[in-house]
């Protein structure tokens, strides 16, 4: 036993002599996490991160057999789920984990919003987080097309068509995304490159920044604590918080395994059967809808009249959604100063309005189809 400890110490000293990790260990051992009735929400960022790691691993595995191209994409996905050992499971986990990651990221974002954790000095953490969510949505959009089946083909046609409605640059943007006039094999090439090379690269950089900010600044404390320091209570980051986080990840892994095994094609509105191969000359399937996280935007564009004042409805919708996104991103700078003990009612109301807007339009989207 004593030998073992001496051995571990020697190894530690060997590394410490070269990399000075003792300072890091000291830093981590002093790090604490606020403990209060809303501590629960702190785990959702970590959950998103966990699902992202699952995405990277399963994505690399899918790459072993996936072949982009109009003649091979559908066939290779079919090959993966029907011929390759556990191929169906890898695809199922990749799809489930994608949806759960975006769900966890949305919960993370709204919990940060309603606890006002974006306030000074964490403005940049919020902004990088919003960009990360935007990238996650781009991952979802580009990945959706890759199996080259009927549903993905038409959904991508609609999605890229939206960009075409922007005056001036719209046509250019649409052609840029599609790699031509229409959604073809060239589009698969572009979306594939985006999905497996461009987005992961940018995502890795932003994620590193996001995590660096969080480690540097620590967790945000509740607003009320400033006025009532007697309520302050903390939990050591290591090992207490880390152990809890690991437990949450283990639970998530189990949830993922159960969903992936029992519902390999998804369930309800979260559904990804391979179905028929995309045929540009066949009529579209009766129901074309985007993934659930795009439903509110899709529905918003649908309910607008053909003309709003002097501009086209679709264009008006894109302008409103874009403006909303910009305001949301800049919230830390627009919210003004937070005085201790006073609830920022206006901000909270704005948050509920956004949440209601998204929820109502999403539900409408599924009911009205």
């Amino acid at each position: 036993m004593a030998d073992k400890i001496a051995r571990e110490n020697r190894l530690f000293h060997w590394v410490d002599e070269r990399l000075h990790i003792q300072t890091l260990v000291d830093y981590m051992s002093h790090k604490v996490v606020p403990q209060h009735s809303h501590s629960f929400w702190y785990y959702f960022g970590g959950i998103s991160l966990f699902f992202f790691v699952v995405q990277v691993v399963t994505g690399i595995l899918l790459l072993l057999y996936y072949r982009p191209g109009a003649d091979s994409a559908y066939e290779s996905v079919k090959f993966i789920i029907s011929e390759v050992s556990f191929g169906w499971l890898i695809r199922s986990i990749h799809s489930w984990s994608a949806n759960l990651m975006i769900l966890a990221a949305f919960i993370h974002m709204f919990s940060v919003f309603f606890t006002h954790a974006y306030r000074k000095p964490r403005e940049m953490t919020w902004v990088t987080g919003i960009f990360l969510l935007a990238l996650a949505l781009a991952f979802g959009f580009s990945g959706y097309l890759l199996p080259w089946n009927e549903l993905s083909f038409f959904a991508t046609r609609v999605g890229t068509g939206m960009a075409g409605a922007i005056p001036g640059v719209g046509d250019f943007l649409m052609k840029l995304m599609r790699g031509g006039e229409d959604v073809t094999g060239a589009t698969i090439g572009r979306f594939f490159g985006l999905h497996v090379a461009v987005l992961p690269g940018v995502f890795a950089v932003l994620l590193s920044l996001h995590l660096f900010f969080i480690q540097r600044q620590g967790m945000s404390e509740p607003l009320e604590w400033a006025a009532n320091p007697q309520f302050k209570k903390y939990r050591p980051f290591f090992p207490n918080f880390i152990m809890r986080e690991l437990l949450v990840w283990l639970i998530m892994l189990n949830l993922l395994a159960v969903l992936a095994v029992f519902f390999p094609d998804g369930i309800g509105v979260v559904h990804w059967p391979l179905g028929q191969k995309a045929d540009p000359f066949a009529p579209p399937p009766p129901v074309i809808r985007p993934e659930w996280y795009f439903m509110f935007a899709f529905q918003a564009l649908k309910v607008l009249p053909a003309h709003l004042l002097f501009i086209e409805g679709e264009l008006a919708g894109i302008i409103i959604l874009t403006a909303g996104g910009i305001v949301w991103t800049l919230i830390p700078f627009l919210a003004g100063k937070f005085s201790s003990g006073k609830k920022p009612t206006l901000i909270i109301a704005f948050g509920w309005a956004v949440l209601a807007f998204i929820a109502v339009l999403t539900i409408l989207g599924y009911i009205l189809e």
Binding site: L61, L64, Y65, F79, E83, V84, S85, F86, G87, L89, I90
Partner: protein
């Protein structure tokens, strides 16, 4: 007392360690199996009808053609004695595709100058084994050529 504690500790260590091993196994086994490619979907054949007729082969300047034989490639040639011969065209050295050299009356591999005689025997250069010979059947009425795996 201490012994009982040690026993319990040991038992727990085994339980948790075993659980961990089982957990890691259940994660990595599917990954391991997934990484191993499944057997090729293309069936292996034992006989093919060549996509050209005897006349085309006779008119061919090289007196030889390469053809697809299931998952393999084959070579067919007309010897100076006017015999039809067919072999698996994969060089036994490093899997290059061999060709017929009418001028030298040999089957030749361009990659490393391997040479086979017209019976497929390796006669010089690096090839370690003879080429696998196929049997050739000719339908004299139509000029169709059938190539089959040699029996035995």
């Amino acid at each position: 007392m201490d012994e009982i504690r040690d026993d319990r500790r040991n038992f727990l260590n085994w339980l948790i360690g075993g659980g961990l091993v089982a957990f890691l196994g259940s994660v990595f086994y599917p990954v391991y199996r997934y990484v191993i490619p499944p057997p090729s979907g293309e069936a292996n054949v034992s006989q093919v009808k060549l996509p050209f007729k005897l006349k085309e082969l006779q008119e061919d300047e090289k007196k030889s053609r390469i053809f697809k034989f299931g998952r393999n490639v084959g070579i067919i040639l007309i010897t100076p004695e006017n015999e039809l011969k067919a072999f698996n065209a994969v060089c036994t050295h490093l899997d290059c595709t061999v060709q017929y050299r009418k001028d030298l009356s040999i089957i030749w591999c361009a990659c490393h100058n391997g040479r086979y005689d017209l019976e497929g025997r390796n006669i010089s250069g690096p090839p370690p084994r003879p080429l696998t010979a196929y049997t050739v059947h000719l339908d004299n009425a139509t000029g169709d050529i059938f190539v089959a795996e040699a029996k035995g």
